[in-house]
Amino acid sequence: MEILVCVKRVPDTAENEIVVNSKGTDIERGDLVYSVNEWDNYAVEEAIQIRDRVGGSVTVITVGDSDSEEILRREMAMGADKGILLSDDAFNGSDGRGIAAILKAEIEKGKYDLILTGALADDGAAQIGGMLAAMLDMPYASVVNKIETDSDKMIRIGREIEGGNQEMSEIDLPCVLSIQTGINEPRYVGIRGIRKVASVEIPVHGAKDLGIAAGSVGAAGARVKRVDYFVPPTGEGAEILEGSSDEIAEKLIELLKSKGGIK
């Protein structure tokens, strides 16, 4: 099976401090460390496991700049066979539809049976997979937490739906899936693995290579634009209890009693 996984380089949310910059135009990025979007990493691991089961190859792709290459290499160190970087100044400022259009142009140059994305990324939009599927006219399923490869014409998938239930469906190939965390246990990628792929060539394709008209993507073609970042005024929020921990505990116990919290 020829599998393509779309990945994104995002700020590591674990111990980064996300604060809005003084002008409100972006978050403070000076001290941030970046890595591959966690959901995308699960998708790559799933792709590798499928390939190891049924044969084929795994390609990872991203729309970004030269910094984005490091995450392609990391996923290749994990086991992906090829990496492709889509980069061009004309791509900057694209909205979700723009990104999907850029990816679509590259995907059409190849022949893929399965296209995976992460369920969502740092902006929480969860949109690329669905848009890509519609543009490519392929069936789609989101928040997939299980993949069973039965035949080369269709696969069985499980989706994570409300209440922790799992919705099982059959979906024809080729198709697009967005992958939820917890579908597998991603393998470790060590420094050694990364060094081994340090000099593998990663082709870079721009607008011309993909036959994309400059105004159709990027900031020029975007219909959805972020205009600022802000921290909403806190409003009421919780009443914060003050005092020594003894006093707080006593106050809390009284409140809990009055609300029926202590039996």
Binding site: T13, I18, V19, V20, I27, D95, G96, R97, D122, D123, G124, A125, A126, Q127, I128, G130, M131, A134, P139, Y140, S142, V143, E160, E162, G163, G164, N165, Q166, E167, M168, S169, D172, C175, S178, T181, G182, V224, R226, V227, D228, Y229, F230, V231, T234, G237, A238, E239, I240, L241, S245, I248, A249, E250, L252, I253, L255, G260, G261, I262, K263
Partner: protein, 323 residues
Amino acid sequence: MTQQIFAYITHKNGTADDSAFELIVAAKKIDSSASVTAVVCGEGADLDTVCKQVAAVYPEVWKVSNPALAYPNAEIVRGVLATLLPAGAITLVPHDTFGMDLSPGLSIKLNAAFVSDVVGIEGIDNGNLKTVRQEFGGQVSTHVLCDISAGAVLNIRSGSFLSDDSKASGSVVDKSGQAGGCVSRRRFLQVVAAEVGDVDITKSDVLVSVGRGIEEQENISIAQELADAIGAVVSCSRPIVDAKWLEKSRQVGTSGKTVKPKVYIALGISGSFQHLGGLKGNPFIVAINKNSKAPIFQVADIGVVTDLLEFVPELTQKINEMK
């Protein structure tokens, strides 16, 4: 504004989802004078019941009945909506797993713009709709301008627009015949129910819930001791289940259980909306977290900013001494 506004209604077992009554409120924020049309897909008696419920609030309801729509399949619904909706329509969809399945692709088919997970709407400015979204797991908010001139699909986060009590007596129009063929390359098989664990957290009036702030699996005993002292049950957020420290049946959240307790004590929980999405009703929420900026303090009634690993055992001790 001349564009029509539509609301996609999700429902189960003959009951419209809460979101149905929130979407119309959101629609009014886009255009207060708009006539909003609800679209309900399904089949049989359940569908009719839902249409009636919805007609009490929406001025017009489009009913699409087809055996293929007995189980909500986003692939089929997308085709239906793409056929039925007029050019330039503004479509509101709830941002749940169905909405995530349906809307991105729908926006492409309709050649409309798409804004995901909208938490606020601030009106139209020069053909652009100003919406509010969140990024980085809810740590920051952003204003997003959406060019709606060619139409738009908006996924609305549940609970962002509280339903008002406005009434209507809408007419139900059967659009089943115009919906087109309901075929799909994705076929529903079955729903596998989540495992029933040893404890049913949905049955307890008081919950002591743990999040990442509990730090280690062994510390969960601190929460259990508090729960024992006050007659509560221990629940948790998703990261605890992902780490396999507690069973899935203990998880509160959109991908876990929906609970309606009287009292909810959140220990070391940041308050992501996926977690809070599982907390319904109007519980008395107590949040204990050492990060004063945690979003949970926005929704909690009472907050204690302290190290829960130190404070909670003290609290438990005091409660036990009282008895």
